[in-house]
Symmetry: C2
């Protein structure tokens, strides 16, 4: 029997219809995936630093910020083909019945390694910790520009997830507005708080722990869960236990715990699901105002294991062909989470 | 220079960033596309009628509704693996902090031809007229069930757009609620009306005609346009001139004019863009209440010519790598629209 499930934060229904489902293990199938075209010279490899725009940040392999004379483990550079640019202003104007505005914002690239690795799961837990620290440093840096309202940190792993260069990298976008998905989450958590005087995500976590059906893993500071109103097979969230609207305010212990969860999750997809393409991103509160105090930052990973078809595009309602209970069980039983 | 453009109905920004663009003609490139796996016996072919669930509607090649003893051109049947089912009730219940509800609704399939055609563009203009009539008949039939609030008509053309059977068919979903995208469009047109005492879509069409930059084609009753705040390369709308919230109330002349536009659009994609995979759907007002009088029904076709990546999923803001002005010009100059 298919069912509707409501996401309590977005206040939107999804449809879980497993009649057409594959069993979780079938998602492991060998599959021919479209790959990123190879380039002769990779601009992200060690030695080709001059091929990228001027560097913003450089980290060494101990996790220290270093200057350009030093060897690097990670670099942050502006995107060479940016979707947003800083040298204009966020002022909209009328154009007939429409509104239009210069593409103001920042679009940066985090290069994950001096070596030509093509999968983020090649990073060690320690290196993922450095990556998390890079994200935090950049948000704190960007925050000084008062025209920026929100920062989006995301990764496209594999061509089918939108990657256009195979060398592992993530991207940082800074926007002069809160994007619609974040606005909806902020609005939803505010509405929930007004009604219950509680954080929706804190309540959700409390219920999930009690139910013990969709929690894949927990450590001192984080939960790894398959969300109840999952929009995608194996959609995976990493959520901090401590209520905090802004990712950049994570404590240093929390950053370590986050890296630990992230490593397990990435390894699960790489080793246990046969390396599917996926996107991940961090939903973190707006930078410049505290109205989002009810918001609870979190990480989401969305594997490309199903296609968003006409129904999903037309309606905004996703049809998920597996239950999160089933995928959680499968994950928990795997070598990665069961050792 | 990238730019933000605001959709006046959804009140959401998109980013048009053409620095990373292909030229429109490059979208024509030969491309290896993932295809729907072939089945030995197609349940939609003539002679295999017993392989589908019991038929709901049968049309002959003159466009008349006929009984099962007659030859058919199109058939409507329930989906054999439905995402929604009619034999339950739309009553939600609490489950801890969440809400849950049986998957109540209808999920039907319109088989476009007794022959094994794999592309909807193989239908003639006359046959597309019959298909439009089938859509209208089904909505009018479904309307009698007062538990249904909205109907979604959609097509997945090709595997990359989500088709799982290659025999050309479209799908009809009936839902006990208005889905989020429709709700937003209804809310947006209401807000616009309150402010301007005008229909947003009527104003948009008037402006588009005056500008003459994004109108690809018009006939007596319809416009074919590339939307100003386009979310996808070659996103194409077919919009009726006459303000009307509900597609099923189209006049019979209008149905003919719509079929004419639809034929041209489908032929353009098939012949001039090298048969990309795509989705189309009709956004039509809710069935059971008249609160959506400011809504203006329309048709949208979304080609799979770019990938929704991490940024789009994380934010809900789409990045479009072509301008609708450029694609409109390309379409107008093509053999299909220029003859």
């Amino acid at each position: 029997m298919p069912e509707y499930r409501k996401d309590i934060i977005l206040d939107e229904w999804v449809i879980i219809a497993t009649d057409r489902a594959k069993r979780p293990e079938n998602f492991r199938e060998e599959k021919v995936r479209v790959q990123v075209p190879k380039t002769e010279v990779c601009p992200f490899d060690k030695g080709n630093e001059s091929m990228t725009p001027p560097e913003i940040l450089r980290m060494d392999s101990s996790g220290n910020m270093v200057d350009k004379s030093k060897d690097w483990l990670m670099r942050v550079v502006p995107n060479k083909f940016p979707a947003l640019i800083p040298y204009t202003s966020p002022t909209s104007s009328r154009y007939g019945v429409y509104m239009i505005m210069d593409g103001f914002g920042l679009h940066e690239v985090v290069i994950h390694s001096p070596e030509h690795i093509t999968n983020i799961s090649k990073l060690s837990e320690f290196e993922l910790g450095i990556l998390i620290d890079v994200y935090v440093r950049r948000i704190k840096g960007i925050k000084n520009d008062k025209r920026i309202e929100s920062v989006v940190i995301m990764l496209n792993q594999g061509r089918e997830a939108g990657a256009s260069l195979e060398h592992s990298h993530s991207q940082i976008f800074a926007l002069p507005m809160s994007p619609p998905v974040l606005e909806k989450e902020i609005y939803g958590t505010k509405r929930y708080f007004k009604k219950n005087l509680r954080c929706a995500m804190c309540d959700l976590l409390e219920f999930e722990v009690k139910e013990d059906k969709r929690v894949v893993f927990k450590n001192r500071d984080f939960f790894v869960i398959q969300p109840f109103a999952s929009r995608n097979p194996f959609e995976t969230w990493i959520v901090p236990k401590r209520h905090s609207p802004n990712f950049e305010n994570a404590l240093s212990d929390e950053k370590e715990s986050f890296a630990h969860c992230l490593k397990l999750v990435l390894d699960f997809f790489y080793y246990e699901l046969n390396d599917p393409h996926y996107n991940y991103y961090i939903h973190t509160g707006p930078l410049q105002y505290e109205a989002a105090g009810h918001f609870h930052w979190h990480f989401e990973l969305i594997p490309k294991l199903s296609i968003k078809a006409g129904f999903e595009i037309a309606t905004g309602i996703d049809i998920c062909i597996t239950t999160p209970e089933y995928t959680a069980e499968f994950m928990k039983a795997s070598r990665i989470f069961n050792s």
